[in-house]
């Protein structure tokens, strides 16, 4: 058996610790031991010690045969809190939620075989949304690899294309180094998930512990500092443009709170209006008069038209996703385009840009700010541009028909926002109509407050992500705005929330339909609603009760506020079944294959999408 983990920071425990059988000095203050005397420990202990040194205080996981030594090393230590999930996918999304809300690296620990394959979705999700995450998977012992052993799968093979990087550790002497390198890769450059596959015999084997100092990857040194010529070119454009717009994305959030602060400062100096992708919400305050709202398929009329008609587009940490660009050959035809990105492969991938700036968003924004201040140039009068934007805004594209009979989903999110905005709230979502309504009607003032599956569009993301957020922010109000279909993909994680006393609130906009699927069938498939209606739904109140949470149901607009307050004021996890208008469409919308200035604003007629557009997703 593995020896109990000797943690220098460990509080005295009743468990008797055996002395380590090493020939080197096993001092309690081993942190200060000279490098010539490496501490020897088992692979499992190396894992826990490396995580501790990396500053991991919370991790998410699920035990199994191939990770038992690591679980043994976790036993009886309290430097790292382990949250036991109900399904490995939940561990991955929880780690993502943790990472997204803190800016730190999320950590998940799962076993071999099904544990690893269940992690594929969150790994892909983190890759698409650039979330820093280290996933440790157990593997069958080295000598069994390749024999189709029980719970064996080719984890590195399976995750090679969906992770930023991965490792199979076959030598315990490389284990500590590998873990530190994994954290370096996950958090540097464009963040992403890194998988470390550790065979069970390596977890038992004894090897030296190496600290994180000085460990990096020579072939992976991202450029974070912009070249001065690029910055000069950007400032040249800013000083000559009459209709500029900032198009910001998740990169601003990933770059850290300072990047958001610099964006605000640069905006204050220039007065340039700001729009953002789904992933970038919160980097710029939604209450600001120059905030245009979200861009893209379900973005605001003013944001999309500003993107279409601008003469300068400054893209900061966004990637011209198809949900943003719509029809590429009609995308912002009159503008010069600047693209600030830390990933060279994102630049010129979809849209050709005039000024590429390969850099960290924060550093680029800082350099632009500095250059602009140094020039003291007078910027062109943006009056007419702001006036035009005002005219677009006056269309009130998010307006909807109110009702006193039935709860409109938009109204539900509006009320949720009104009643929670001053309560230190963090919002996660699942994927679908409710996600878009949340993005449209819940407004964010700060970064890291909004966790959603943008790139991969993973139904089931929201609840486990909320668990991760709540673990990071125990006193915050964490709400998963969900749909009744999405929530059923990961609803077992409510049990996790109950066990670990994580009082997450799941606010289900229940329309009994896979709403977005239904909307597309209405739009594209002649209202033939093939398999988008759930004939049988759980009684969510009873379900909450069964899982040890509190259930609330509301179907009356007049009672909504009181019941939302009941949810907020309940001390534990809540499942809120908000029965909403069943056939409501999420508008406005840019139909597939259309340009930014061809939004559907009022009602869907069924004739919006041409033959070619029907082939798109």
């Amino acid at each position: 058996m593995a020896e109990p983990f000797l943690n220098p920071t460990q509080k005295p425990s009743s468990r008797k610790l055996k002395p380590m059988t090493t020939k080197t000095k096993a001092k309690p203050a081993a942190d200060t031991a000279p490098p010539s005397a490496p501490r020897l420990m088992t692979g499992a202990q190396i894992v826990v010690e490396a995580l501790r040194e990396q500053g991991v205080s919370v991790m998410f996981g699920y035990p199994g045969g191939a990770v038992l030594p690591i679980y043994d090393a976790l036993y009886g230590q309290d430097a790292i809190r382990h949250i036991l999930v109900r399904h490995e996918q939940g561990a991955g999304h929880a780690a993502e939620g943790y990472a997204r809300s803190t800016g730190k690296c999320g950590v998940a620990l799962v076993t071999s075989g099904p544990g690893a394959t269940n992690m594929v979705t969150p790994i892909t999700d983190a890759m698409m949304d650039s979330i820093p995450m280290v996933v440790i998977t157990g593997q069958v012992p080295t000598h069994l690899i390749g024999t189709d052993a029980f719970q064996e799968c080719d984890t590195t093979g399976i995750t090679r294309t969906c992770a930023k990087h991965n490792y199979l550790v076959t030598d315990v002497n490389q284990l500590a180094r590998t873990i530190h390198e994994a954290f370096y890769i996950a958090t540097n450059g464009r963040p992403g998930p890194v998988v470390i596959d550790i065979p069970k015999d390596i977890q038992f084997a004894t090897g030296p512990y190496v600290g994180k100092a000085g460990i990096l990857k020579p072939t992976y040194v991202p450029q974070t500092e912009p070249v001065p010529e690029a910055i000069k070119a950007v400032v040249d454009l800013i000083t000559k443009s009459w209709r500029p717009v900032f198009y910001t994305g998740g990169g601003v959030i990933n770059s850290g709170p300072r990047a958001s602060a610099l964006l605000r400062e640069l905006q204050a100096l220039t007065g340039i209006p700001v729009t953002s992708t789904l992933m970038g919400l919160g980097a710029f305050p939604a209450s600001h008069p120059d905030w245009l709202g979200m861009v893209g398929m379900h973005g605001s009329f003013e944001a999309n038209n500003a993107m279409h008609d601008c003469d300068l587009m400054i893209c900061v940490g966004a990637r011209f996703d198809d949900r943003v660009t719509g029809r590429v050959d009609a995308f912002s035809p009159k503008s010069k385009k600047v693209h600030i990105d830390i990933d060279a492969s994102s630049i010129n991938k979809i849209v050709r840009v005039d000024v590429p700036v390969l850099a960290d968003c924060g550093q680029a924004l800082e350099a632009i700010l500095k250059e602009l201040k140094a020039r003291k140039a007078k910027l062109p009068d943006m009056g007419p541009w702001k006036e035009q934007i005002g005219a677009w805004r006056a269309r009130r594209c998010f307006a909807y028909k109110g009702s006193s009979e039935v709860i409109k989903p938009q109204y539900a999110v509006e009320r949720l926002y009104a009643l929670t905005k001053d309560r230190n709230a963090y919002i996660t979502t699942e994927v679908g109509q409710h996600q878009m309504w949340a993005a449209q009607f819940y407004h964010f003032e700060e970064p890291n407050r909004w966790m959603t599956s943008g790139g991969l569009g993973t139904m089931g993301y929201g609840l486990p992500a909320a668990v991760g957020v709540q673990a990071a922010h125990p006193d915050a109000l964490v709400i998963d705005i969900a749909g009744e279909a999405s929530i059923q993909m990961m609803m077992q994680e409510l049990s996790t929330a109950v066990q670990h006393k994580l009082p997450v609130k799941v606010f289900i906009l229940n329309n009994e339909w896979m709403g977005m699927v239904r909307q597309w069938q209405e739009l594209l498939h002649g209202e033939r609603y093939s398999h988008s209606y759930s004939e049988s739904l759980p009684d969510f109140v009873k379900l909450a009760d069964a899982l040890g949470a509190h259930g609330i149901r509301c179907d009356d607009p007049a009672e909504l506020d009181a019941k939302i307050l009941e949810m907020i004021n309940h001390a534990g996890p809540v499942l809120f079944d908000c029965r909403v208008e069943r056939a409501e469409n999420c508008l406005p919308m840019i139909p597939s294959g259309s340009a930014h200035n061809q939004m559907i604003l009022g009602e869907i007629t069924g004739n919006e999408i041409g033959e070619a557009g029907r082939g798109l997703v």
């Binding site: 029809r327 009609a330 990933d343 060279a344 010129n348 200035n597």
Partner: protein, 188 residues
């Protein structure tokens, strides 16, 4: 605001139709210097298959044991836009240290080696040997009825040689794929 409307009869485009039809497809040889770690070749090859790029030929071997560096030479083709993406995506892979565009370097040299088995008797056998000499091919195995030629050079030259052997009793061909290096004293 009608400038975004597609003209009648013309299909609208989205990010899903990114084929730059008007751009010419070109061939390119790239040398990819990588850390020789497990799975690195699968990473590079997987990138090509996963993103729908072509591989015409591929060679790989460790070239610096002390630094664990391998050199992968890939011959690929695509439009200028795709080729640019290929380079950027390769550099995004963590173990990739460097990507060298051999085709667009004036100093680039490309060489390939082929083993060519030709069977025949009489006049055809003599002719095969004679052409082999013209191409400076070595005969590395011979029987009364066959030769195996080892021939090196630019890929075009090898293809030409193989074409000439076809009517003379070509049995089998094995090619290494393209190797690359730059002229001059500098590395890379």
């Amino acid at each position: 605001m009608s400038d975004g409307t597609p003209p009648p009869g013309q299909a609208p485009k989205s990010a899903y139709f990114l084929a730059h039809e008007d751009e010419e497809v070109e061939r390119r040889t790239l040398a990819v210097i990588v850390d020789n770690e497990p799975g690195v070749l699968a990473r590079v090859v997987g990138l090509f298959s996963g993103r729908g790029y072509n591989i015409d030929s591929l060679t790989v071997a460790e070239v610096d044991a002390s630094q664990h560096r391998s050199r992968i030479t890939i011959v690929t083709q695509g439009t200028g836009h795709i080729l640019e993406q290929i380079e950027a995506q390769l550099l995004r892979l963590v173990p990739v240290a460097e990507v060298i565009d051999i085709t667009n370097s004036k100093r680039g040299i490309e060489r390939e080696l082929a083993l060519v088995k030709v069977a025949g008797t009489g006049e055809k056998r003599v002719e095969a040997l004679r052409i082999g000499e013209i191409f400076r091919a070595h005969v590395i195995d011979t029987t009364n009825e066959s030769f195996i030629f080892e021939v090196t050079g630019a890929s075009d030259k090898l293809t030409q040689f193989i074409d000439l052997m076809r009517p003379l009793g070509l049995v089998e061909v094995s090619r290494t794929g393209v190797l690359s290096i730059k002229r001059g004293k500098e590395k890379g």
